[in-house]
């Protein structure tokens, strides 16, 4: 018997199921766009320019933000699953409505934050909201997204979020972000409020498909347990991907010559190019996710990161004139690596889950791999900066880490095969 996918729903005229998939893409893409722009860059601008804090203090505050978000995600995810709400679409939408409403209010208030104390309080409230919202958003996949389509759905969400983030808005200032996001979020807040009220019957209709979509690809036939090796190895691998990305990105965006060919480039053409690369790479990752196993995908991710940082360090070593603009190959490789692992990150946690573990696995996976890795890499980047480590040495360190992960994973996979064949022969 074949597994139902989105084409089956469309052929059978089950348009509510198709709309559910599109709704999931919209929520995931919008949430990630908010995280990429407003949270990761807008809040740094808010702290340094508006509140007037030193860059080091803001970086420390952002590290604390990541840690608080991680804690909130784990508490929320585990609590929801223990109460049996991980597979309850209505309950999840109600929690999400609360989160989206809170985020909207916080976004309205952001430009008015003026003192260090209010800045820290604002960050804490935002971390709690994002921490609760993240596992709930990911867990919606077990209700809404057919299992065979999760790679493609993750790819489309990644492509939309990164393209939007690369191309719009023009200025990386918190007022600009708030000006864009407050009106953009308003219809979403209203829609979530209507859905959460339970008067439309939409959620009841969508819940009918939960049974077909609920068991993730890697939970067939046996569910992946939270304490299993299979789960934690993937958490560690994803942690590695987030860590090397964050550690490298933090330094690249501080290096003036690289800014010319990055997201912050004043040249719209460069930003469109980077956005386009994100789109192509995300779709490629979606195809690979659907067609190959997890190991091949992680090898691709680490291989791409290793190659990307090799390019950056090579450019730093060979550039003899500071006026030379780095080739676009550098941000293109970076965008490819980032789109690859983001697509993988969006798809893999629901595919490692059942309705009983959806929130917990998303919280642990994204919490540890995403937020904790960001916290640790920010701390390490600050330490390296305080120790006056040069850009070349910093990126060489990142390059060494990625090469280690790439080679280590390859060797580990090979040794696993050796053990397997050895046991078979015995």
């Amino acid at each position: 018997m074949t597994v139902t996918d989105i084409r089956d729903h469309a052929r059978a005229g089950r348009w509510d199921a198709v709309l559910g998939v599109l709704g999931f893409i919209a929520v995931l893409a919008a949430g990630y766009y908010y995280n990429l722009t407003f949270v990761q860059l807008g809040l740094i601008d808010l702290g340094t320019r508006v509140v007037g804090l030193p860059g080091t203090t803001v970086s420390l505050a952002m590290a604390g933000f990541a840690l608080a978000a991680f804690a909130a995600a784990v508490v929320a995810g585990v609590s929801l699953d223990r109460r049996g709400l991980g597979g309850d679409l209505t309950a999840k939408v109600r929690v999400l409505a609360l989160v989206v409403g809170t985020q909207w209010l916080l976004t309205i208030l952001a430009p008015f934050v003026a003192t260090p104390n209010t800045y820290v309080a604002w960050l804490l409230a935002c971390a709690l909201a994002i921490g609760v919202g993240m596992p709930v958003t990911f867990a919606l996949a077990v209700d809404l997204v057919p299992v065979p389509d999760r790679g493609l759905v993750a790819a489309v969400a990644t492509a939309v979020a990164f393209f939007m983030a690369a191309v719009y808005p023009m200025n990386w200032r918190v007022e600009e972000f708030a000006g864009v996001l407050v009106p953009a979020m308003a219809p979403g807040v209203l829609l979530f409020a209507v859905l959460a009220s339970g008067r439309t019957g939409v959620l009841e209709r969508l819940s009918r498909y939960g049974g077909e979509h609920s068991i993730g690809r890697f939970c067939r036939p046996e569910p992946v347990r939270t304490g299993s090796w299979g789960f934690w190895v993937l958490v560690v691998l994803m942690f590695g991907a987030f860590f090397v990305d964050s550690l490298g990105f933090l330094r690249i965006v501080e290096t003036p010559v690289f800014v010319l060919t990055s997201w912050q480039s004043p040249d719209v053409g460069v930003r469109v190019f980077i956005g386009g690369t994100h789109v192509v790479a995300a779709l490629a990752a979606g195809v690979l996710y659907r067609s190959f196993g997890r190991r091949a995908l992680f090898l691709w991710v680490f291989g791409m990161f290793a190659f990307t940082h090799l390019l950056y360090t090579f450019d730093l070593r060979t550039a003899t004139d500071a006026s030379g603009t780095p080739p676009l190959l550098l941000p293109a490789a970076y965008a490819t690596a980032v789109s690859f692992y983001t697509t993988l990150n969006f798809a893999i946690w629901p595919d490692l889950s059942t309705p009983r573990t959806a929130c917990t696995h998303a919280a642990l996976g994204v919490g540890i791999a995403g937020w904790l890795a960001t916290f640790l890499s920010t701390s390490l980047a600050l330490y390296l900066s305080a120790a006056e480590v040069t850009v070349l040495s910093h990126l060489t360190l990142v390059n060494a880490l990625t090469l280690l992960l790439f080679v280590g994973l390859g060797v580990a996979l090979y040794l696993k095969r050796v053990v397997h064949h050895g046991r078979a022969a015995a």
Partner: protein, 289 residues
């Protein structure tokens, strides 16, 4: 740097390496003004962007132009080799070695000083009809290769062609990603000069696998065209694929993209089947029943 400049860059690196240069300073993009003593002690390779040697400045050669442009208003103490791209020498410019032009666009001002000059056009003007002859030669070579491989290893080509035709999206994705990455990795390996032979081998291997992928496509096409033996089917199909690629190449941009996609499908088909040694079956979501 443009992808089509890659062969010229590799040739420049080979020339620099054989000329005894221990290192190479490679300019890939952007505007660069070379200052006296500002470059590396080895060769300078212009692989993209605009490089200027300003008046009153002396740099050491050799300098290779593989893409982009080089403007000499100062002095180059050594040879300047134009493989492709643009080279202009101003009135105040001086080249104290030999200016060798293979395929570049060279302009020398009347007052410029050139110690020695050599013109060796690699691609002389071809008579009309020679392109057609070259395309036919390519098709004949593809047909012969297809016949030999198809007759000897029909199972391998069946797997490659099967992956390419049954799973074109996966094949294109894998072929495109590996092709682009391999090209970039090869170029950067070549830049180290030490790994230049490895890069050249990798470049050759990539071309061979891409050609093998075309034969796989040829097998799949020939098999659909009629009841032929595997050797004949591959030969006929490969000739057709090569001719189609040639025709596509005549259409600006869209044709080139289409031709690259066709090659990527074959290349990816060869890769996902481990050169045809196994049948490719994408991962499937197991049913719960």
């Amino acid at each position: 740097m443009r992808p089509e400049a890659v062969p010229f860059v590799i040739v420049a690196l080979l020339l620099a390496s054989s000329g005894g240069a221990g290192s190479a300073d490679v300019v890939l993009a952007g505007d660069r003004v070379v200052t006296e003593g500002g470059g590396s002690a080895g060769a300078l390779i212009v692989a993209g962007g605009n490089v200027t040697v300003p008046a009153g400045t002396t740099i050491q050669g050799p300098v290779y132009v593989a893409d982009g442009s080089l403007s000499v208003a100062g002095r180059v103490d050594g040879d300047v080799v134009a493989l492709a791209g643009g080279l202009s020498v101003a009135d105040t410019g001086a080249i104290l070695g030999t200016l060798e032009n293979y395929g570049g666009s060279v302009s020398v001002a009347p007052g410029a000083t050139i110690a020695d000059r050599a013109e060796t056009p690699v691609l002389p003007d071809r008579p009309p009809g020679s392109s057609l002859g070259f395309a036919l030669l390519e098709a004949i070579i593809a047909g012969l290769a297809g016949f030999l491989v198809g007759r000897r290893f029909p199972g391998l080509l069946r797997n490659v062609g099967g992956a390419a035709t049954e799973h074109p999206v996966v094949s294109t994705t894998v072929g495109g990603l590996v092709g682009v990455t391999a090209l970039a990795v090869g170029v950067f390996m070549a830049f180290t000069l030490i790994l230049l032979p490895v890069a050249a081998l990798a470049f050759l291997a990539t071309l061979l696998v891409a050609g093998y992928g075309v034969l796989g496509l040829g097998y799949a096409l020939g098999d659909r065209m009629g009841r032929f033996s595997p050797g004949r089917a591959t030969a006929i199909g490969s000739v057709a694929v090569v001719l189609v690629l040639r025709v596509l190449a005549l259409i600006p941009f869209v044709g080139a993209v289409a031709a690259l996609t066709v090659v990527s499908i074959g290349f990816g088909g060869a890769l996902v089947t481990y050169l045809g040694t196994t049948h490719f079956e994408p991962a499937r979501v197991p049913s719960l029943e």
